[in-house]
Symmetry: C2
Subunit: 406 residues, 2 copies
């Protein structure tokens, strides 16, 4: 049985995603397709525009058979931890045979080689990387400069390696390499300039679409399939979205203004004085935009700072030490997905979670921490939804997996 | 020299306050009048409708000569600690001769007697009070029942002793008794039903006026002197107010949703399982109103719960252990006030603070904690002001004392 998997945020699901899904299916010809879907806070440190349940519906509409949650413990982390969470879920499910992701198809082998080189980092590699980081470069940029300097890689191989999608692709390949498994990576050539909104230049990116939505520009509807449009329109009508990081800014800044920098240092990924810079900045400024403008440096990208602000909001502490998933939570399925689930009951190394309220009984102590963080993130997500009646908590407990059964 | 003092919130200053000030002046015939003005968060656990600087202007306009800050460490505490902060400031200023407060003029001696009885609490008193508290009564109510049961006080003496103003009057008398000093208490008969808005029933209360403002009812303007109206209208025009607890609700509930109940227990006045009840309630509900409705009991009054929510917002920890003021911060003065300030330079037991930025150098370690909490409270106050451009922090550093010099 061929089981194709995709790791996605679908924030929101657009024509580019549909193209990727269909190309991957053409390439693999799978019996079934699984998606690991990011929870309510995403890799770039932002809340999703609509919640994971609505994005699950989009995935199922698009033809994904089974949707599994990437817990917020991993969905809102830097690329390597994001990839670790997602790829480990796929490997431990015991059923996945292929993993498809967007990249430059021609360079998949090159990317695999680079991933192996990074994984087997030797003393020289480490030392040079350390120097570039010390010089103030961001991690992705420092890594490119290191590879260029110490390894037998041509500049051409490193092309666009600090593009967010390539960073993720590389991380998936790294984790596949580390976990020693049989999953076949399937690179799908990305088509056109994702940041353009001109149909002649390929698909509009999710961020371009979100920008239109934020600006109340109805033109967003032209860049998504009709099911996405309907799901979003319904959510917006009910005030269940759209949600942007800006909607959380007062909550986040209130938290920083009341928190000692020593406490901020306990938050994951916050180190080396960033806690003081964030604290000082929030004492003066009152918007995320002002904070990002002040805190952005060569070393700390907007994404890195956004993620830190979101980690503070979620109170995601280093001490939680959440290294890999401890359960597979089902967000939705169709009939084919249901049959795969039956299979997974025996194949999966991780417990399957259908009902959140039962989950705490069947996971280990680390799993409980992942669940706690998940519930907290959902409580903190709903709190800033446009409609006050949608701001109730415990939504993880109230929602069952979405079923698209014929 | 006769120095009359008043302890006030002026939230906002209204005709009742003016009546009180003028009656007190008639009664004492002072050379000068001083006000201890509550900071930006008040005794009932709410932010003030406009900030302490605007309320200082009201006091100066009304004819107060010198305005001294009651730090938020005391202004947002239960009656006894509020009174301790304010009365200690007056006593340690070394200049105050009279303290006037609203009460039933006829019962000032009775109130003094009750205050002494409470201060000299004997074993029986303590034991009976403990029993009533254990039975679930609020502290003020339990105290009345205790006095009624064990002391030689007629029910008539205890009349309205759980009215917020009488609770404060009693607390002032308690602290005056404890501090053994020469300040003469001056009770001014409160006039009419403060909760009515009918001019025939006396003055509108500050809470009635705030309610009109909250409901956008322009009728509030009829219940305040013209200077109050102008100050408020200017602030509202600039988006520097009005501020209500509801404006902070998302910030507060976000903080509770992300905070472990064990951490909530570190907050002042939160004990005996209240931390769990608050945590559970905030996980479900998304408004202060819903929280108050769920958490209110015979024992925990709305005021008590509001104060706890505000203490959580301010991160006011028990461990700060702030028992009495350690400085006198000047909020404003006129020429007479300025001359009194010169006198206070030699008479005051506490350092006088004119500039916040210099303050940290001239206070002791507890004083620094009081200042830290004050700055944090101001940063957290401004964050929810209607106009985003008013939400900047560090306003304590930017504002100098208000001067009304001729």
């Amino acid at each position: 049985m061929k089981v194709l998997s995709i790791i996605a945020e679908y924030n929101p699901f657009h024509y580019g995603h549909l193209y990727h899904l269909n190309e991957a299916k053409k390439s693999v010809n799978p019996d079934i397709t699984v998606c690991i879907l990011a929870s309510n806070f995403l890799q770039r440190g932002e809340p999703s525009i609509v919640d994971k349940w609505s994005r699950t519906k989009m995935a199922l509409h698009a033809g994904i058979d089974l949707v599994i949650e990437l817990p917020v413990a991993f969905s809102c982390r830097s690329a390597f931890y994001y990839a670790t969470g997602a790829v480990t879920s796929l490997v431990k499910s015991g059923v996945v045979t292929h993993l498809s992701f967007g990249t430059e198809a021609n360079n998949l082998l090159q990317l695999q080689k680079i991933a192996q080189v990074i994984n087997n980092e030797d003393a020289l590699y480490k030392s040079v990387l350390h120097d570039f980081l010390g010089a103030g470069f961001s991690y992705p940029k420092a890594r490119i400069l290191t590879l260029e300097k110490v390894l037998d890689l041509k500049n051409d191989d490193l092309r666009e390696l600090d593009n967010p999608n390539n960073i993720l692709a590389l991380a998936y390949l790294q984790v596949l390499d580390i976990l020693k498994n049989d999953i076949t990576p399937v690179g799908i050539l990305r088509k056109g300039d994702y940041h353009s909104l001109d149909p002649n230049h390929g698909f509009a990116s999710a961020s371009a679409i979100r920008k239109l939505i934020k600006n109340n520009d109805p033109n967003w509807k032209n860049h998504v399939p009709s099911f996405t449009r309907e799901i979003l329109e319904n959510d917006f009508k009910d005030g269940k979205g759209p949600l942007f990081l800006d909607n959380l800014e007062q909550n986040i800044i209130a938290i920083i203004r009341r928190t000692n920098p020593l406490e901020l240092q306990k938050i994951i990924e916050i180190n080396e004085g960033l806690e003081n810079r964030i604290y000082q900045s929030a004492q003066k400024h009152s918007s995320i935009k002002e904070l990002l403008t002040e805190l952005k440096t060569k070393r700390y990208t907007y994404t890195k700072i956004q993620r830190s602000l979101t980690h503070i909001y979620l109170n995601y502490e280093k001490s939680l030490d959440l290294k890999e998933p401890k359960y597979l939570r089902i967000l939705g399925f169709n009939s084919k997905g249901q049959s795969l689930l039956k299979h997974m009951k025996s194949s999966s190394e991780l417990p399957l979670i259908n009902r959140f309220s039962n989950a705490f009984k069947i996971v280990d102590s680390t799993g409980k921490k992942i669940l706690d963080l998940e519930a907290r993130a959902s409580d903190l997500y709903s709190l800033a939804l446009p409609n006050p009646n949608q701001r109730y908590g415990k939504q993880d407990y109230y929602n069952s997996p979405i079923k698209y059964l014929i």
